[in-house]
Subunit: 500 residues, 2 copies
């Protein structure tokens, strides 16, 4: 039975799908923050069931006809409705590309591989990961082939498209090529310059967890995080979860180092503000969801890297830090804290990397995952290729695989085609922040007073409230005057690290 | 399409239903404990969607045929499977009795009435509740008629059957009649005796919330609450939620009075132990769920009233209380604390009532809700009838409707036929505890040492692990040698309040 108004029927079904996905998002948050450990099998069963029920909505037998009939009537739809229909088709194409047995096989393989990865990493022994990771690669290739056929894209692009709709490797090659030509020289100059200036003074702990939490809360309140629609909690791996109306951000606290949790909270706050700012009328339909991982990461990095590591913000935050921990002295002056927060140094670990070296970590992973999927690099040769790449890009060689090719969960977890979105997000963050500053005189002065309203208003209007109405490049062009590029990011790094 | 093995197909469907309901249980817990206030509409949409999806599983067009075919093959099923099939049929009959528009109308009416109730209670003005409560009564009658037809029961019994499968008003009339003949005289004797003995010494606060929480946690750990499969949190109205593998109990703390939160925690712990003890292999099927509200309430009251207000337990707990709050002196001696915990006095408020007067509150509500549903009492006359009943049963007349007929949420909320299960639970608790003591020499001595293992082992074997395998009376007969009666409860009250 097909409805009289196929588009309205699609909205009804995708609304139900959204409710199931939002329920699952809260259950996932609970799993990482509140759930007692003995309940993991119970919760896995609940989440698997919701996932199957969501999938069933998507692959219902009459969906192709509903989509086709709605598309025939496209000219009668408003702008948001038409874009919503386009996003429905896109989501349906992804979901429908994969046979159920392949989805299930991949879920099983990534679960097994994730468990093997924890052991392999602990033992710093890549060989232990080989059998299960091999299976994940095989199944990821099959997924990629199926999606490539459905989307009419090359295999890698078909995988990337799930995280960043419209993302294409030819574009990434170009952008990463520009960074490759720029960053090593910049890194040399910056490290040389920072060496000459001498090391900043360290902030000595311990820093009580409750004081850290209260400081983080105070700062994200100032930035605009709405605690009537969100929470800040603790989890082993920080993330932003929940729903647009119920944003759950998390962090973890280290009593020896408050800067890391604090910057982590500001980072997740950026993600959370994006979610909270999604279009009110559409956030339960595909067109009202965040555009993709590039813009999502742009929002967290804009907040953490562009806004909150600025001189202006540190000048505002330094007195609050001193008050929070009851400290004073030269180490706690804004100028010293700013130097601490902008230290640059090549390191083995991606998640600890500064904004200058981070893209080099990503370029290595991007290069390697394409080579593995393309059959140009045997998995057994990954550790050697990793270490060669680290030497080439960052000038250092990991002391073992735990701090080398075993450090990330992404590949064991099946997230192939995800890594480049981090650096594309950093480029977008720089570009958006530069445009916001240009469009909003006094924006940095306001941030220096802890007033984020002008920045947030600009982001709301130009990014958040657009949801998935247009593609990433169109949104960036409308907001900044240009498609995604490296210019703003390069300018930002030169100004922050070489000009001052 | 009908499966080859209809019973197996039913297990698959009810397993999925269970997963949806367990997911909803966690989301409901989150709503009362963690959710930011701004997310209530979002959460309501998630829960409504899960509820509709659960209902759709139950009323699928081929369910009658599946059930019938499975019932034809009943002789090939094991004992648990056959009981599971019986429970499936029972759940299906309840779900299928109501047309969708009636379910929806009732949901809307109870939502509106609950909101009106909060206002009416605040203003102590029953008249404000009349219009919406009238609508709830009308729709509850329609629900009762539909269920009565489907189940072949009188209207009130059909409503009661949802909370207590197999519960019948003829039986309640008999049991309540026995209590009616016994309690007022006992109450007179006990209050007289307690008056002669003089008032116990009060425990002076304030009592820090964190110390209360830690004490509650310590005591329920001793009782056997497993924190690897559960949590203790705070909510405005204490409850037990979550799942058998993930039991979420809550309380609320009052800095002026720790006894209330503590006894509340012990009460919810009893509910939680029941859930956690449900049969491991069947807890995701209808036969593995708790038997009904009578046994559920029996488990909380057994723990709170029978075990934890005993001399033996108070002797164990008193030193822990002194240590928790850093207090000492005559008021903190076990004998005085026991007197505080067994004070009897008629009061207006059911939830504050002691175990002697509590059943009188329930008898009043039972009498009134039957009269209203039967058309023998006009809603407008409820306040007068309430006050007359209070005078008759408890000898006191409420000063206004807020502490009279407006005090409970149950009627506005649509829970008609629920009240009697509280007192039936109290009877079952006394009966089960007496049987446990008889079957387990040294049980009270163990409790006096804070060792609940013998009690818990008996409850696990005789109540928890049976799930819904047999009906309440069969379970009680197997466990205690008799169907539900008043003898053990009467003996308990006489021993505790008159003999010592």
């Amino acid at each position: 039975m097909i409805a009289n108004d196929p588009y309205a029927e699609l909205e009804r079904r995708f609304g139900r799908l959204s409710a199931v996905n939002r329920a699952a998002a809260i259950l996932n948050w609970d799993r990482s923050t509140m759930m007692p450990e003995g309940a993991s099998e119970d919760r896995a069963d609940q989440l698997a069931t919701l996932s199957v029920m969501a999938h069933e909505i998507m692959v219902a037998a009459d969906m192709p006809e509903l989509l086709a009939r709605a598309e025939e009537g496209r000219t009668t739809l408003g702008v948001w409705q038409a874009a919503n229909l386009r996003e429905m088709r896109h989501a349906w194409t992804h979901a429908n590309a994969l046979p159920a047995d392949l989805v299930e096989a991949r879920t099983r393989a990534t679960s097994a591989c994730e468990m093997a990865w924890r052991e392999a990493k602990k033992a710093a022994d890549f060989k232990r990961l080989l059998p299960t990771l091999g299976e994940v690669v095989t199944l990821t290739r099959r997924v990629g082939e199926a999606k490539a056929a459905a989307l009419g894209l090359p295999l890698y692009d078909a995988l990337l498209d799930e995280y960043e709709p419209g993302g294409r490797s030819a574009r990434i090659d170009m952008l990463f090529g520009e960074l490759r030509a720029f960053l090593p020289g910049l890194l040399r100059d910056v490290t040389e310059r920072q060496k000459r200036a001498g090391a900043p003074l360290e902030l000595d702990g311990p820093f009580a967890v409750e004081a850290q939490r209260a400081l983080g809360e105070k700062l994200i309140r100032a930035i605009g995080f709405d605690f009537t629609h969100g929470r800040l909690d603790v989890s082993a791996h920080p993330f932003t979860g929940g729903t647009a109306d119920d944003v759950r951000i998390t962090t973890r606290y280290d009593e020896a180092d408050f800067a890391r949790a604090l910057m982590g909270v500001l980072h997740e706050c950026g993600h959370g503000l994006y979610e909270a700012g999604l279009p009110r009328d559409w956030r339960r339909q595909p067109v009202g969801l965040a555009r993709g991982m590039v813009l999502h990461e742009s929002q967290s990095l804009l907040m953490e890297m562009q806004a909150c590591r600025s001189d202006a913000f540190i000048a505002f935050a330094a007195p609050l830090m001193r008050a929070a921990f009851g400290r004073s002295g030269p180490a706690w002056e804004a100028a010293n804290i700013h130097r601490l927060y902008t230290r640059v140094a090549p390191g083995f670990i991606r998640v600890d990397a500064d904004e200058v070296t981070y893209p080099l970590h990503i370029m290595l992973r991007y290069r390697l995952e394409r080579a593995i999927l393309g059959g140009d690099l045997a998995l057994a040769d990954l550790p050697g290729a990793w270490n060669d790449g680290m030497k080439e890009l960052l000038g250092i060689v990991p002391t073992d695989d735990a701090v080398g090719c075993l450090q990330d969960i992404h590949w064991p977890d099946g997230a192939w085609g995800y890594f480049p979105t981090y650096t594309l997000g950093a480029l977008a963050a720089a570009q958006l922040f530069a445009a916001a500053r240009k469009a909003t005189p006094g924006l940095m002065d306001a941030i220096g007073r802890g007033d984020f309203a002008p920045l947030l208003a600009w982001l709301r209007a130009n990014v958040h409230a657009k949801g998935s109405l247009v593609d990433t490049d169109t949104l960036l062009t409308e907001a900044t005057g240009a498609a995604l590029g490296t210019a703003a990011f390069k300018t930002h790094l030169e100004r922050r690290y070489l000009a001052q």
